[in-house]
């Protein structure tokens, strides 16, 4: 595991860990069989993400990606948050090992699911999500 210092920082002291009471949107992605599940919670006011939390079962990269991704979306509009890619998450972490890029994909997908959950609750059409990334790489 050749992780950047940034990854280790977010892994050892992750931001935004925990469950959220009555979230405005929740997204859960991954598959326990593959060793990864990520759940993202959003608090939304006026189309702006005022708070985000996560719960993750997974490797160091998955936990660090959850922490970074939730940091990145806080304070963003839903439109801005939707556009945050897994690459952006990985870059913010100063890179991930190639075999671990799929863990950052979980973060992107988790955010998309959570936003769509919010939209559905609001009676809006869900936005089109990317097909699920392949399990186990």
């Amino acid at each position: 595991m050749m992780y950047s210092e940034k990854v280790m920082e977010h892994f050892m002291n992750p931001h935004n860990v925990g469950e959220m009471e009555n979230p405005d949107g929740v997204g859960e992605v991954g598959n326990p069989q593959c060793g990864d599940i990520m759940r993202i919670y959003l608090r939304i006011e006026n189309d702006v993400i005022t708070d985000a939390k996560f719960m993750t079962f997974g490797c160091g990269a998955a936990i660090a990606s959850s922490s970074m991704a939730t940091d990145l979306i806080k304070g963003k509009t839903l439109e801005e948050a939707w556009k945050i890619t897994n690459k952006a998450v990985a870059e913010a972490l100063n890179g991930l090992p190639p075999v671990k890029m799929h863990c950052s994909v979980l973060a992107e997908e988790g955010i998309h699911k959570a936003i769509n959950d919010y939209r559905e609750k609001q009676g809006l059409e869900p936005l089109e999500e990317k097909p699920d990334a392949d399990c186990c790489g």
């Binding site: 892994f11 593959c34 060793g35 990864d36 759940r39 997974g58 998955a62």
Partner: protein
């Protein structure tokens, strides 16, 4: 979470199944063979006798350690080469006769991938299942044997879960049927007594760096009369079966290490078992934790436990930040992103196999090391479970 790692802190090494350090006494014995006593053993002058004698002595040390004859020991570059040679060598040398091989589902990749490669060469391979403790069932061996079976290869003790196989019984069956029997004893040397006669084996692999010898050298026991191809072609070394200038210092180190390991076997095993008892008592107090492997028939230095709801790589990373070195069967640390084939073969579901932690003790470990591990690990498990969406409420804080 603060960790106590700084540049001066010593690592608590709990991964002796991966590799061991070379014992300083062993290294001491190797040193002259790099410098003054460096001659090529095949050369025709006095100083070459010194190298030749050193190899002979090491061959005797290995033979004595496993109750073999001197001329049944061949030196190789490690456990992987020994396994590859044993299996490919016997398979091709006996091919005309037949083409079926039996092995187990929990072998080391050096055996499994070799067998899979042989399948591509037209051999047929049966992979025996194991019970939940990781043991091969004698009944399954009997059932798998065919008219055209040439070789059975079952490991002495597993590298992940430490389970010891009923080698002697399998060997008896193989011998009755006239089938060659190979065992990968790489993890067994220095841990449990070994006797090729008692085990009824025709071939046995070992690797120096698993018992405080140097890396890059191993041996293959080949019972007299076994039909086996040469592994490499070239000079007349190793009775023309394994060409190449001998790694004299490495071979000296292997010999010294196996002699030391064998002479200290009981004492070492007692030390390991005492530490492991303390270790497992602590580990199994953590809720939702399971022992992998056999409760008794296991290597004295091996503990393998599974923590539900969390993932092994995260555990290792956190342990690493506290200067503890360990191993896991989680998919997330393997290049293939597949969880341990051993844990899966024992029947653990994928999501459970992910939470495994292998701790393998060594001769320099102390009770303090065990206590440090336990005291470091408990909060780590709690912390990771607190983050995991799979953890049931009552296990979260």
């Amino acid at each position: 979470m603060k960790n106590n790692m700084d540049s001066t802190s010593k690592t608590v090494y709990l991964d002796h199944a991966a590799t061991t350090f070379t014992d300083t006494e062993v290294l001491e014995k190797m040193l002259p063979y790099f410098t003054e006593k460096f001659a090529n053993p095949s050369s025709p002058y006095n100083i070459a006798h010194v190298s030749r004698d050193a190899i002979d002595r090491a061959r005797k040390q290995v033979a004595d350690a496993i109750n073999a004859e001197i001329n049944e020991i061949y030196f190789t570059s490690g456990g992987t080469e020994s396994d590859n040679w044993a299996i490919k060598g016997v398979a091709f040398a006996n091919r005309k006769k037949s083409n079926h091989i039996i092995t187990s589902a929990i072998e080391h990749h050096a055996v499994l991938h070799t067998c899979q490669w042989l399948e591509k060469q037209g051999f047929e391979v049966t992979y025996l299942p194991v019970d939940k403790f990781g043991q091969v069932r004698i009944e399954d061996v009997k059932k798998a044997i065919r008219e055209d079976t040439i070789l059975i290869s079952v490991m002495l003790a597993n590298n992940e879960i430490g389970t010891i196989q009923p080698i002697s019984e399998i060997g008896r069956i193989a011998r009755e049927k006239g089938i060659y029997f190979h065992t990968d004893a790489v993890q067994g040397i220095g841990q449990i007594p070994l006797d090729v006669e008692g085990l009824n084996v025709d071939l046995l692999s070992l690797s120096s760096h698993k018992f405080y010898g140097p890396k890059g050298v191993g041996a293959l026991y080949i019972k007299k009369g076994t039909r086996i191809d040469s592994y490499s072609h070239g000079g007349a070394q190793e009775k023309k079966k394994r060409a190449g200038t001998e790694n004299v210092p490495g071979i000296v180190g292997l010999g010294a290490a196996i002699e030391q390991a064998t002479s200290q076997l009981e004492e070492h095993a007692t030390h390991m078992k005492n530490l492991r008892t303390r270790l497992l008592e602590g580990l199994l107090q953590i809720p939702a934790t399971h022992l992998a492997g056999h409760p008794e028939k296991r290597l004295p230095n091996n503990a393998n436990v599974i923590f539900e709801y969390i993932e092994g790589e995260s555990i290792l990373l956190m342990l690493n930040s506290f200067s503890i070195a360990a191993s896991t069967g989680s998919a997330c640390t393997s290049a293939s992103l597949e969880p341990s084939h051993v844990l899966i073969a024992c029947g653990f579901p994928h999501e459970i196999a992910h939470g495994s932690l292998r701790l393998t003790l060594g001769k320099e470990n102390t009770e303090e090391d065990v206590d440090y591990l336990l005291q470091t690990l408990e909060p780590i498990i709690k912390r990771l479970r607190a983050m995991s969406p799979m953890t049931p409420k009552e296990l979260r804080e």
